[in-house]
Symmetry: C2
Subunit: 179 residues, 2 copies
C-alpha cells in the first residue's frame, strides 16, 4: 500500500462493507464521507489498479445488463491492511480553511470585507448543516444495521462542529461590528 496515499484505506474501508465499482466509490466520497475526505476519479481508478496488483482487492467484471462494470472485492490481505491501519495510534488531521486565512489577514482591507466573508462562510455552514441533519435522521432509522453506528458518529461530529462554527460566526460578527 502506497505510504502517503490515504485513498487506499478509504477504498478498503468502503469495500469491507460491500463490493463496489470505482464509480460507486466516487459517489460515496461525494456524500457523507466528503465532509472529511475527498476523492476524484483520477485518484480512485489508479488506486484500485495498483491495489489489485498488490493483492488487496480483486476485480469482478460484470456485464449484467450489457453495461460494463467492474466490482471490486476486498481480499483477506486487504482486510488485514485495513485493520492494521485502524490500529495505528498516529493520525494526521489537517484543516486548510481559506476563510480563516481571510479573517486572519483582514486587516489589509476594509472591515466590511471581513464582515462579508463571515456572512459567506455562515451561509455555507448552514447549507452543510442541513445536509448533515438529513443524514442524521436517515441513519437513526437504521442504527441497528452493521457499521451504521460508526457512520452515525462521524455525522454527529460534523453537526457538533458546524453548530460551533455558527456560534463563532455570531460572536465574530459582533466583535467586527462593535470594535
Amino acid at each position: 500500500m502506497a505510504k502517503d496515499r490515504k485513498i487506499d484505506v478509504v477504498i478498503l474501508g468502503l469495500l469491507f462493507h460491500e463490493d463496489l465499482t470505482g464509480y460507486d466509490i466516487k459517489k460515496r466520497l461525494d456524500g457523507a464521507i466528503g465532509f472529511f475526505w475527498k476523492g476524484s476519479f483520477g485518484n480512485i481508478y489508479p488506486a484500485l489498479a495498483s491495489m489489485e496488483k498488490e493483492g488487496l482487492v480483486t476485480r469482478k467484471d460484470s456485464k449484467a445488463g450489457g453495461r460494463e462494470k467492474i466490482f471490486y472485492h476486498i481480499t483477506k490481505q486487504g482486510t488485514k491492511a485495513l485493520q492494521a491501519w485502524l490500529q495505528e495510534e498516529q493520525f494526521s488531521n489537517e484543516l486548510r480553511y481559506e476563510t480563516l486565512l481571510k479573517l486572519h489577514f483582514g486587516g489589509a482591507v476594509d472591515r466590511s470585507v471581513t464582515i462579508r466573508n463571515i456572512e459567506i462562510f455562515e451561509e455555507d455552514v448552514k447549507r452543510n448543516l442541513a445536509v448533515l441533519n438529513m443524514y442524521k435522521e436517515n441513519l437513526e432509522k437504521v442504527l441497528d444495521e452493521a457499521d451504521h453506528i460508526h457512520y452515525y458518529l462521524t455525522v454527529l461530529f460534523g453537526i457538533e462542529t458546524y453548530e460551533a462554527y455558527l456560534r463563532w460566526c455570531k460572536k465574530a460578527m459582533k466583535i467586527m461590528k462593535e470594535n
Copy 2:
C-alpha cells in the same frame, strides 16, 4: 501569482504586517496560523523567489551581525494582489481528518480500537486547546494594536471548534460503550 499556490497569499498577508525572512514566515506558520494553514521551507523559499520575480515582494538583504538574512517587503502590487484575494467571494475550506476515517470504518475492528482512537483524538484536542487558550490570553492584552483583532477572531474559532470536538468525544464515547 500562481493559481493554486495559496501559500502566496499567506506570505503576502504576513508581509503586509511587517517585513520578514523566509525563516520568520516558517515560524509564524508553526504558530497560531498552523492551526488552519501549514507551510514548509521547501514551499516558502521557492514561493518567495517567484513572487519577487513577479514584483509582489522585494528583497532587502541584510548582514547585520554578520549572519546573512533576507527580509522581504510587500510591494504596492503585492498589496493589491492580497486585497483582491481577500475580496474574492469564493473560498476553499478543506478538512481531512484521518480520525474520522478511522471512526467511520471502525466496524472492521473490535469496539475497543475505536474507543482507543477517540481517546487519542481527545488527548490531542486537549493539548491544542491549551495552546490556543494561551494565544487567546496573550492576544487579549494587545487587542488595540493593528490587526490583532483579526488574529483574535481566528483563535476564537479554534477554541470554539476544539471545545465542540471535546463535547463530541464524550458523546461518542458514551455511544460506543452503551450500544
